[in-house]
Structures are given as C-alpha cells and as structure tokens.
C-alpha cells in the first residue's frame, strides 16, 4: 500500500505536538514544543540597540541556538556546536526577507535606537526533525513576545529621550502571520515524507529543507544529505513542502490564537506536564 509509513502516518502527516507559550517569565516571549522525543524551548528577548548602518530604520532579529549535551549522545562535548550553527543559519536565512517580519516596526528612532529580538533556541532533547520543530517554536515564541511601548520625546536641540510606559500591559506585539516555518521533506526511496522519525532519518539520503510561510511563499531552501535529487523530484518535494507548510502554519497560528483566548488564568503545564 502506498502512503502509509512504518508508524501508520501518511507521507504528509506530522506527529503529535504539544505546545505551550509563556513558559519563561523572564523573557519577553517564550514557547516550548515537544514533538515525539524532540523538545525545544525558545525564549525571545527584546533589547534596545543601535540600528545597522545599512538599514537605519529597521530593527533586527538574531538567532542563537544551543544544543544541550543531554539532547543526544552525539552532542556530548562540543558535538552540538556545528548542528546549532546549521539551525541558526537556516533560521536567519528563512527570516531574512522583507515579507515575513515587519522590521521597520521595531525601529524606535531611525539611526539611533531600535529593538533587537534575540531569539534563543534551546534544543533540550533530540528525537528527529529538529529543524521543523525549532521553527515552530520560534514562531510561537515570537507570537508570545511583548515589547514594551516607548514614547520618544525630542527637545529643541534634537536630542531625544526615551520614556518607558509604566503599565506592564502597554506593549506591542510581533505579527507572525507571515513568518516562515521550516518543513523538511525527506526522500526515502521513491517517496518523500515530512516529519521523518529517527528511523526514517537514518535511511534517508537526501532531504530538502524549505522555509515556507502560511501564504505558501518559499523564503529559504536547502538541500542536505549525501544522495542526489533530480530536478523533477525537487519540484515535487517543493510542492509537497508548500502544501504541508501552508497547512502546518495555519494550524499553528490557529492554536496560538486559541491558547491566547484562555487568558492569564489558563492552567500552566510548564515543565511538569
């Protein structure tokens, strides 16, 4: 039978995922996602900095990935570092475009002050398909991010003064409607599947990582693995990725909205759940 995998999923099925936001109170926004044995925690910190000289009226987003040595035996010692760089690279690439995040919104005073979103990713446990889960968690954490509102006063000499609102509820949000998620499409034999399990990853020779938004825009693409892909299957895999990516982004966004509706009185699971 076609379209049935070892664990019973179809080729375009994701495994069960658990998502919770606002898990680390010290951050501006945070989220944790657990998918099978993969456990990812993301914290976002918003800090004031000077805008980059080539983009004076924009804020920035920066990714840092840390692989816990406990995540998988491979990460012992400095084993996780290369992997971490790989993740942060693809995240940066996927987010580096005008469409996904409105960085102009993060600018406080052109050329002088802007918000920088430091996205810290912790890979707590590795159970396959880390890239996809990381990107979902980043999206969730950005959705959860609250940036304090700042009013700018300028005096006659053109010098400026920032004033922070004393109301903790007075803050702005990051619109994640168009941010990309990564969908990894793995080629196994003649088929390609999404969300490969550990076993499937083991027998996959080539995979395609796609940064895809809810609007089906591909923002980044990367081929990985020792095997080669002919153009036709690349095209097929991209089509699959777009289809799945659109659905998974939409579902994620919907779930985030649902969670937010629960309000501050929702029962928190934290790391005990």
């Amino acid at each position: 039978m076609v379209n049935i995998r070892a664990d019973g999923r179809s080729c375009e099925d994701y495994r069960h995922m658990e998502l919770e936001t606002d898990v680390v109170s010290n951050t501006s926004g945070s989220a944790r996602i657990r998918l099978a044995n993969t456990d990812i925690l993301v914290g976002v910190k918003a800090e004031l900095a000077i805008p980059a000289s080539d983009r004076p009226d924009e804020g920035r987003i920066e990714f840092f990935v840390d692989c816990s040595a406990n995540a998988t035996p491979k990460f012992e010692g400095r084993g996780g570092e290369e992997f971490a760089t790989e993740i942060s690279n693809i995240l940066s690439r996927a987010y580096d475009n005008q469409g996904s995040l409105n960085l102009k919104d993060l600018c406080v005073i052109p050329k002088q002050q802007c918000w920088v979103l430091y996205v810290d990713v912790m890979v707590l446990e590795c159970g396959g398909n880390v890239f996809d889960v990381v990107s979902f968690a980043v999206k969730a954490a950005l959705h959860n991010t609250r940036i304090p509102n700042i009013t700018v006063h300028a005096d006659d000499n053109g010098r400026t003064e920032l004033e922070l609102s004393d109301d903790p509820y007075d803050c702005k949000r990051v619109d994640v409607h168009k941010t990309p998620s990564i969908v990894t499409v793995s080629k196994i034999g003649h088929f390609h599947v999404v969300d490969a399990s550990m076993e499937e990853e083991a027998c996959c020779l080539a995979r395609l990582m796609l940064g895809i938004t809810e609007q089906s825009t591909v923002t980044a693409i990367k081929k990985e693995g020792s095997g080669s892909l002919d153009p036709e299957s690349i095209y097929d895999m991209m089509e699959t990725g777009k289809r799945v990516g659109q659905a998974v982004n939409a579902t994620l966004y919907q779930k985030l909205q649902e969670e937010e509706k629960l309000g501050p009185n929702k029962r928190k699971a934290g790391f005990l759940g």
Binding site: S28, E163, Y169
Partner: protein, 938 residues
C-alpha cells in the same frame, strides 16, 4: 500561593530590563483586632472598643487611610486622639517611595503602643491581593487594593471600618462598593471633641480647583526639567533666598563650572521657590542680567497688591557701572525641602477671621497663610507651622498649624525655637544610650592600668574658661636632663567609653558636636561622661590619650610619641588663674614652672606659625553676665584674651598637627582630617575696596601676604580699624571642613588660616565627634585598640564628614542666634547710645557693628515715607547728606532700643545719633556707654 510581579524598567545605561519577582500570598496573616477570634493573632494591636466620637460615624470604628492622607496629613495622624488606624502595606510602601521623612514619621507612629496603629500586610494576604488590570494605572491599582482591604476588613470584623481619603474618585468608588468613606476634612470636622484638630489640616489646593488670577508662571513637569537639564537649557541648583531682600535669591548651581552662583530677582522669577529647595533654573539672556541690589527689603506688615511691582521696579533700576551677574529664573522645582518653621502669627486686621499670616523666624522664609480658629490663644506665642502647598494664584504659601511652643520672649521658648530652627537634636538621651554608660562607682581596672602608661606622677594641669565642666585637655612640661624639654598634651580618652557601633556611638555621631548656647549646653554625650568620667578633673585619676613631645629649647620637635595613659591633674585652672600663677614671681612650685615653660614655648611656636603665614583673625565675641535669679543678662563684656589662652591654643594646634600627620601616614585613604580651602581672590574684593577707601593697600596673594598687610593696616585716628578689618577678612574666608583623606588630592589638604599642610581635630573628643574618630584611628595606628570595618571605609567616613560639617555649621549659627537672643533680652529694659562702626554701606541703610556688644544691625536711612536725606554714591560706597559723609569703617554713634510697637514681634532698632543730621538723627540719650541698670524699667 505564588504570584509573580512583573515590570519593565530602564537601566541607567538605557537598556530595558524585564524584572520578575516572586510574590507569595498567605492565609495566615492576622487582622490585628482584639475583637477578632478567627485570626490566630500573636499580638492584637487594634482596641476592642475604639473610642473616637465622630458625628458622622457614632459606632466604634477603625480608620483606613489612603497614601495621600499619610503623605500630607501626618500632623493629624500624629495627634494622640487619633487611634486605631490600619495602615495598609500598599500605603506604607507607596509612602516610602514618595517621601523618606513621611515614611520615618509614620514608622515612628507605628511603634507607639498607645496609638494602636496597625500595619496590615494586605499585599500578601490571599483575599486582599489584587493584580493590576490591563489599562489600569499603578495608582488606580493601589486605590483598588486599598478598597479591597477595606471591604475585607468590613466583612471580617463586626466593627465599622471608615476609609479616609481625599481622592474624590476613590471615595465615590468606595461608596459604590458599599464602604464608608470620608474626606479628611469631613472626618476631622466630625470629631466634635477635638475642634482644634481643624487647624492641623493641611491646605491642599490643586491649581485647577481654585479661581483667581494666577500670580506666578507655571512650574514645568519633572520629565521636562530633566530633559532640559540634560540638554543644558536648564540648570539644577539649591535655592538660597537672600537674608536681606525677600525679592532676591541665589541659586548655587550643581556641577557647572561656568556659573556657580546665579542670581534670581523679582517674585515672578523666584516663582514660588522656598529657601532650601532644589530648583531648575533657566538663564536669562545676557542683556537682562542684573546685579544684587544693595536695598534691604523685608515683607512689610500690610502689603498691598500693587506695592510689589513698585518694589520690583526699584530692583530693576539700571546700574551700568557695576559688573552684572548671571541672572536667571526658576522654571521648576525638583525637590521641595520644606520643613517645619517656627514663628509667630501676624495679628489679623479682621476680628474673628480664621485666615491668618504666619511670620517665620527665619528671615529667608516667606510668610505662610494658615487657617486657625485659635488665633486669640496663639497671639503672643511661638508656634510651629508646616507648608503644604503653594498654588499659582496665591501670594503666600499655604500651610497649617502644627503646635505651639510657648510665649514669645520666654527664654525657654526662644531657646527651643533656635534649637529647632538650627536642626539641633536636643531631646534627652534615650534609655538605650544611657544603658551604654559605665556603672558607677567607676574606677580604673587592673587591666586598664596594665595597658596604659602611668603618668600620674607628672605635674599635669588643665587651663579652661571659667565654669567649664567638660575639661578635655590638660598639659604638662618639664626640663629633661639633656637640656631638651618634654611637653605633654593629655586628652580625655572618650573613645574608651564610646565603643563603635553602640547606641551611644550612633547618637554621638548624629549629634556631631556639643552645642553651646549662652545659658545652656546641649551635650553630644551624656553628662556622666562629659562632666565626670571623661572630664579631666583635678585630683582624680582619669584615662587619657597623651601626645608626648621632646622639644628643643627653640621649640623644634625632636621626637613625638602617642600613648594611652592614666593621668591625675594637679589643678583645674581658669585662664586668669593660670596667668596669675605665671606672673607671680614668688611661686616656684612644679605647676608654676610647668606653666612658665609652656608659655615660653607657646610664644616661640606662635612666632614660627605666624612667620609661615598663619592668619590672626577676629570676630566680635562677648560674654554675658547673667542675673542669678531672673537668668536675664545684666551686663555684657567683650571676651578678654590673655597669654594663657594662646598658650593652650598653641599646644592644641601642635597636637592636632602631629596627630594628623600620624593618622595620614597610617591611613592614607580614610583618615579624617580638616581642611580650610584658600578663598578665591574674588572673595577679597570687598575688603580690598574698603581698605582702599582709607588709602590702604591689601595684598591677598598668599596667606602670608595677607597676614603681613593686615598687621600693617593701622589708622591712627581709628584704633578699632585693624580689628574691623580682621572681622571683615574673616567673612571673606571659606568654611573649614572635615573630609576623608581618600577623597581629595593631597594638595587640597591645606589649612589656609593656620598655614599648615595638614590638620585635624584631636583635642576635644568630649564635644566633637570628629575627634572621637581621630582618637580611634590613632589608637589603631599605635596598636592600642582594634579597628572595625566602618573606620577604614572611605565612603562611610565621607558621609560622616558631611553630617559633621552640617552639625558644626548649625551649632555655630545656633550659638550666634543665642547671643542675639540675649542681646535682645539685655536691651529689653534699656535705651542706650553706643559707639559703632560702619561695616557696609547699603543703598538705604548702614550696616553697623557695635563692638561692645558684638552686635550688628541696620540703621535705616529712610523714614516712613521712604524718603532719605542721604544720597548714595554707589561707586565710592558712601552716603552723603550735606557735608556729612558716611563710608565704610566710619565711626558713628547709634541709639539702641527695642521696638515694642508690635508686642508679638519685638525687634532691635538702631537709630543714628552722630553724626548729627538735622531732622533725621535722634538726640543723644546720654553719654555713650553709660550703663543704665535694671532700675529703669519703663
């Protein structure tokens, strides 16, 4: 139950931080009421049946206040009848944030048992904790927390709870929640048993609610001021009102090199700033700069509205020849430094009026408008008043009555006034301080004598002013076999009794110095120490800290040694007695020899000192003879200076310098020293000018030059001229200050007046706390005592120096004020003509010094209609009338009397007698200096 408090804040560096604090809620916080048997109370504070009769609420009730009530109506809360008040934690924390003095006062009330004030930690109680809602301001949240706690109490107890708040919105909301809420004035009015409480109500009016024309420009909000200061548009400084002219003030600008003093003129520019406030000022354009007017202006009794512009015009008169000073205007108040002011009520023109004006004793404070129903009883009393606010449409600040001190002119009252006005702590020593005292009978223990050098065999004696009971220094001197001389200065070992960190130590550090009034001494340490155990009384074994020198016959130091010792003074002499012994050729005993030796050496030391440029300055000092029965002064005498005065002084200086060198060597970072900065040349300008008018040149380039030119400045026809010049020179000097050696470069350690490289205070530990610290430092450096952490911490020492400098200055002012008070009492029954000398010439007055009484005052040259027979020559600083010229240093005869036209406000009045000006000067009432005794009680 755990909640977290989350807030964002901006750090100094400008980054934004999110702060998360854990906050736990509990269910075991008790309500504090004796009527409650639900809570597991450990000590219930609120009474079972509070008795406070209120017309509004006849049942027994407890009071809950909001933050503003605690902040602004403290005088009401402090009244004994107000009891059983619940102070919520929310309120307490907000008060702590907003005002440190208010926080201290409420904390003090909370410790008084009879007041039954209870702090309810509502923020941690599970039923009263409220979380901030989206869109709610911090204030609204706190108000809601207060209402929440009130309604919790209401449900929890059978007793009624009254919420007292001046916030109308809060009151309405409370009513909606079914709570009982009143404003402070509603509530206080309803207390039928205590009508006098109404007077203590703080008058607070916001600019919005009151009508009337705005008389002052608006103050800028703090945020705008801060921005302005950053950008350099505004400057921050402390506001110092002029003593002589209520429409003038100076602002000493903080941290600006270009303008350290900025002049403010005219009520519009002064803009409601009160002496002592920290203000933001804006410089006026250079064309509007002005110079201090030489007018002497006081707020007159019946001032009309249109009067002020006139006066301001006088101020603005063009003075082209005088160099102009940076002038500015007050744009906002950064910090009010209002305190309680002593003064009297100005008699009201309208009978039965409740609005009154209060005249503060401190001349630099404006009159204050207060409301009182007890004007009749307060007439003739000294009272204390507090400023509450100063709205834009009010000429005067608004305030309220705090308490009465006693009758005007009564000596106890007047002493109290001057202690309060100079912030001298004068309450009796607390029990915890007294419990630090050694037990009596005290004697020197074995252990003490083992660790100390026994100097009881030496012929030590003390020389002090008559009547001195706190003897802290004693001296000896003897010839040694090698021809050199051993000299010892022995200082009371106060640090033996005052151990660091004890209650007595803290109290002494706070008081800083003993304050001497004419008829009263406010001790720094309890009397048992100051007049007995530490005082080096004759024929008693006492602990001392000794400095022992070996001096050559030429008074050069060969060796110096410091040691803790035990001494036994042979005699406690007065300066006069010591002088007699020295002069009495027949006396050849050890004491006489010792004194003669000391006297000879002191003269040599003084010569050396003067050669190196030390200044001899003068200040008019007087002694009162006090009637033993009425305690009124009956005669005044200038203090006489004998050889022995300067003998003691020389050795004290020598000891201080030797000790300063020693402690600085041992503790280069944290030694407590005393410096006297060299005054900037501009300070000397007035005396140079004054001397020039008499044809004398003063050279002020160095201390030495100044000393020489002062010595040479003599006028044959005016023997008092030299002394006057020295008095004026004293006023050009900077204040000598304590400082911590680690905070300044060594070059700044200099003591200008004494012309020494380094100096400290070591010789009067009974009456100065600085000396106690120096004793401790010296003891550590010779290994006689253990150190402790605060002693070597330069930040702590620096802070201590700051307090000591403040206390010393205040003690000096209080002392002078006491002299003034006694002078006034002395003239109460007298009208006397006296010789005086002109110190300054003002535009409408002469500033005259009467050496005999050390008295200074103004001779106004204008009559009631503001006309003056004199013309003022500003360039020469001379007043002319016909062919009579009066300038600086000139001799005049003035009539001194008390103006009793206003019973409440008696003041000393000087009138010109000589030179005679027809139609202006008053006839002589007898030869100068003719003493009129008590008999003439007209």
């Amino acid at each position: 139950m755990q909640r977290s408090k989350i807030f964002v804040k901006k750090t100094k560096k400008g980054s934004v931080l999110k702060v998360v604090r854990e906050h736990y809620l509990r269910d075991d916080i008790w309500c504090g009421s004796k009527t409650c048997d639900v809570c597991l109370q450990q000590a219930a504070i609120l009474e079972e049946s509070p008795e406070l009769e209120s017309n509004l609420c006849r049942q027994p009730h407890y009071i809950v206040t909001d933050t503003n009530v605690v902040l602004h109506q403290m005088d009401i809360l402090e009244v004994p009848v107000i009891k059983n008040v619940i102070i919520l934690q929310t309120v307490l924390e907000e008060v702590r944030h907003r005002s440190a003095p208010a926080y201290k006062r409420i904390k003090d009330i909370l410790t008084i048992r009879d007041k039954h004030f209870y702090t309810f930690t509502n923020e941690h109680h599970k039923d009263t904790y409220v979380e901030r809602q989206p869109g709610e301001s911090a204030n609204d949240r706190n108000d809601r927390a207060i209402r929440m706690a009130t309604s919790w109490y209401q449900e929890h107890l059978d007793i009624k709870i009254v919420l007292v708040t001046d916030d109308m919105e809060n009151k309405e909301k409370a009513k909606k929640d079914g709570l009982t809420a009143y404003t402070v004035s509603e509530y206080v009015k309803s207390l039928s048993d205590s009508p006098e409480l109404m007077d203590k109500l703080a008058l607070r009016t916001s600019d919005k609610t009151t009508g009337g024309k705005a008389k002052f420009p608006e103050h800028l909000p703090l945020s705008e001021i801060q921005r302005g200061i950053k950008s350099g548009n505004y400057m921050q400084g402390s506001f110092q009102a002029s003593r002589d002219n209520y429409l003038e003030a100076n602002v000493s600008v903080h941290g600006s090199e270009k303008f350290d003093m900025v002049l403010i003129q005219g009520s519009h520019n002064l803009n409601r700033a009160v002496h002592g406030d920290v203000v933001a000022i804006q410089l006026l354009s250079e064309s509007e700069w002005s110079c201090p007017s030489s007018l002497v202006l006081t707020e007159t009794e019946k001032e009309e509205e249109e009067d002020t512009p006139n006066k301001e015009n006088i101020l603005k008169e063009k003075k082209s020849q005088v160099p102009k000073q940076p002038t500015g205007k007050v744009v906002g108040i950064i910090k009010r430094n209002w305190r309680q002011y002593c003064g009297i009520l100005q008699p009201s023109l309208i009978k039965e009026s409740t609005k009154h004006l209060f005249i503060p004793t401190e001349r630099r404070i404006h009159k204050i408008r207060i409301e009182t129903r007890q004007a009749k009883t307060l007439e003739g009393q000294r009272i204390i008043v507090c400023i509450d606010s100063w709205p834009r449409n009010s000429r005067y600040p608004l305030g309220h009555f705090v308490r009465a001190l006693g009758a005007v002119g009564d000596k106890a009252t007047e002493n109290e006034v001057l202690l309060l006005e100079h912030d001298v702590p004068h309450t009796p020593f607390s029990q915890s301080v007294l419990s630090c005292l050694p037990e009596m009978p005290w004697r020197i223990t074995e252990e003490d004598s083992k660790r100390r050098m026994d100097l009881r065999h030496l012929d030590i004696c003390s020389v002090d002013p008559p009547g001195c009971t706190d003897i802290d220094d004693a001296l000896h001197c003897r010839e040694m076999d090698d021809g050199n001389i051993e000299v010892g200065v022995h200082i009371a070992d106060v640090s033996h009794f005052i151990r660091p960190g004890t209650a007595i130590d803290k109290e002494a550090a706070k008081r800083g110095t003993t304050v001497y009034l004419i008829d009263k001494r406010i001790d720094m340490v309890p009397e048992l120490l100051s007049s007995n155990l530490c005082s080096l009384r004759c024929k008693e074994d006492r602990l001392a800290f000794s400095v022992l020198w070996v001096l050559s016959q030429e008074a050069k130091i060969i060796d110096v040694k410091f040691t803790k010792s035990i001494i036994c003074s042979r005699a406690s002499l007065t300066y006069a007695e010591a002088q007699l012994i020295i002069d009495d050729k027949n006396r050849t005993d050890a004491i006489a020899k010792s004194l003669r030796g000391l006297n000879r050496l002191a003269k040599l030391l003084k010569k050396q000192r003067i050669e190196s440029g030390a200044l001899t300055l003068a200040s008019p000092e007087v002694r009162f003879h006090i009637d033993s029965e009425t305690h009124d002064p009956i005669d005044v005498q200038s203090k006489e200076l004998r050889d022995t005065n300067s003998m003691v002084e020389e050795f004290m200086l020598l000891a201080n310098i030797s000790v300063a060198e020693e402690i600085f060597r041992e503790f280069p970072n944290c030694a407590m020293l005393r410096r006297h900065p060299e005054p900037p040349p501009s300070n000397f300008e007035p005396i140079i000018k004054a001397a020039q008018s008499k044809g004398l040149q003063l050279n002020v380039d160095t201390g030495k030059d100044l000393a020489v030119s002062l010595n040479d400045a003599q006028l044959a026809d005016n023997p008092y001229f030299n002394t006057m010049l020295r008095i004026l020179t004293t006023r050009c000097m900077m204040q000598a200050l304590y400082f911590c050696s680690g905070m300044l470069p060594e070059a700044d350690f200099k003591h200008y007046g004494l012309a020494t490289r380094i100096y400290t205070h070591f010789t009067s530990p009974i009456r100065r706390y600085s000396d106690v610290i120096v004793h401790r430092l010296l003891a550590v450096s010779i290994g006689a005592d253990a150190s402790y952490p605060e002693l070597t911490e330069k930040k702590k020492t620096h802070a201590l120096c700051f307090n000591l400098n403040f206390r010393h200055r205040m003690a000096q002012y209080a002392g002078r004020a006491s002299v003034g008070l006694h002078t006034q009492l002395f003239f109460k029954t007298r009208v006397i003509d006296e010789d005086g000398y002109v110190l300054f010439v003002r535009k409408n007055a002469l500033h005259v010094l009467i050496p005999k009484y050390g008295l200074e005052g103004m001779v106004f040259l204008t009559d009631e209609k503001k006309r003056s027979p004199f013309t003022y020559d500003e360039q020469e600083s001379i007043q002319r009338c016909g062919d009579v010229e009066i300038g600086v240093f000139d001799h005049v005869v003035v009539q001194v009397s008390i103006d009793r036209s206003n019973v409440q406000h008696q003041k000393l009045v000087l009138r010109l007698v000589q030179p005679e000006i027809p139609g202006f000067s008053v006839p002589s009432s007898g030869p100068p200096s003719a003493k009129k005794m008590k008999m003439d009680t007209s």
